[in-house]
Amino acid sequence: MTSIGTGYDLSNSVFSPDGRNFQVEYATKAVENGGTAIGIRCKDGVVLAVEKLIGSKLLVPGSNKRIAMVDRHVGLACSGLIPDARHFTSRARSEAASWRKFYHTPIPVSSLADRMGGYAQAYTLYSSVRPFGVTAIIAGMDEEGGPGLWMVEPSGVGWGYFGAATGRGRQAAKAELEKLPLPNITVKEAVKHAARIIYFAHDDNSKDKDFELEMTWVRHEKLATAESGEGIVKGWGKHEEVPKELVAEAEKLAKESMVEGGDDEEMEVEE
């Protein structure tokens, strides 16, 4: 950020002499301060998990959900400015609905990610708006592509992932995700990993704050795992909260793994 103060970073849609859009970069800074959010793409579905930081014990436990339902088969987890995330989510819902109206079929996950990328990008083009302070992880399951996991950044760029992480603890989370044999695990296995990774990332970055773990998945209602040729299940999935018992079990295992991990070394991370 050597060019701070040169004036090229004061307005959106302005290039600096070396070709950067500072306002977009600053928007990603807002994301980097948000609670960690991850997505795991499996052979039979996708798991989303977020670290919901709890600012006050007066908040109603379990309320103020951070993973949104976009369509029956698509979930969206955000990190960054929460009001921006709500706006972004509401646009995603409109896109999904308009697709349904026009084509009489649910929207493929890749197409939704594509459209949301376009929407985010439009907010980098004009000095009259600011970019979204949000990185969104879009998870879904469709007929053609099977399980899909996409991450859309404030610049509008969007990539497909096997394991995606954003927010404050993304580095730690990414390191853990890379150890998993993705996508060759099941959603049920991934739930445990997701809980562990969120706990790990939390311990690494926001140890002093309280948090709630929020988890959803997208999977096919009827098909069991490894039904089709390559072991990847295809068909329209259903996005829903992970059943409470499974979350409780996963959290228990996560906490146990934290105790074990703590013996090895004291990790101190600077930003």
Partner: protein
């Protein structure tokens, strides 16, 4: 006011004269159909176009491509159905490029329905959509006058179809082979042509499979015999 010139409800408030055309409008007094078989779908149509009692074209092509392996049979006003097919063609091309995957047949059917239903008061169009894609195989959808959408294993349409309901019911079989399906369509359409005054000419067909689209044509002076190539 003469209701025959408005296309609105007639005096009884119920029956609509959908056969009515504006002065000089070209009608596809028609026999069209499509049927699925194992591994694909066959579309077929006669080739007569009339303006009143005059045969404006005796070798019309009523089978229209809207995507690689999604085609439709048009009946009703030629102008209306051509325009609709053009619009759907555009949307399916856009779908293909923006989503980096070919549209499924049902997407095409949905687009046709949207156009036919939303503009039902201004259109005279009965369309059969047939397509093949790897995931769903051969599919047939029918959109009659009001703009409703029906997924069927075979569909018949146009003025000539009234004469062949019995024929089709008696002769259609599940799990046709490609050859059997072509014979079925040909048999049904030649009956329709025989009985319907506003159907006639050659029989055109399109066969949609994993190989792509193949056209066939059968001539009346050969009694619609031959392999259609």
């Amino acid at each position: 006011m003469n209701s025959r010139h408005t296309g609105n409800l007639s005096v009884d408030g119920v029956h609509v004269d959908m056969e009515h055309l504006k002065k000089g409008e070209v009608n596809l007094g028609t026999s069209i159909m499509a049927a699925i078989f194992d591994g694909g779908v066959v579309l077929g149509a006669d080739s007569r176009t009339t303006t009143g009692s005059y045969i404006a074209n005796r070798v019309t092509d009523k089978l229209t491509q809207v995507h690689d392996t999604i085609w439709c049979c048009r009946s009703g006003s030629a102008a209306d159905t051509q325009a609709i097919a053009d619009i759907v063609h555009y949307h399916l091309q856009m779908y293909n490029v923006t989503n980096a995957e070919p549209p499924a047949t049902r997407i095409a059917a949905a687009l046709f329905q949207e156009l036919c239903y939303d503009n039902k008061d201004n259109l005279s169009a009965g369309i059969i959509i047939a397509g093949y894609d790897k995931r769903h195989g051969g599919e047939v959808y029918s959109i009659p006058l009001g703009g409703s959408l029906h997924k069927q294993r075979y569909a018949i349409g146009g003025s000539g179809s009234t004469y062949i309901y019995g024929y089709c019911d008696a002769n259609w079989k599940e799990n046709f082979t490609e050859g059997e399906c072509v014979e079925f369509v040909k048999g049904a359409l030649s009956e329709a042509i025989k009985w319907d005054g506003s159907s006639g000419g050659v029989i055109r067909m399109v066969v949609l499979t994993g190989r792509g689209a193949e056209r066939k044509i059968f001539f009346p002076d050969e009694n619609y015999a031959g392999d259609g190539k």
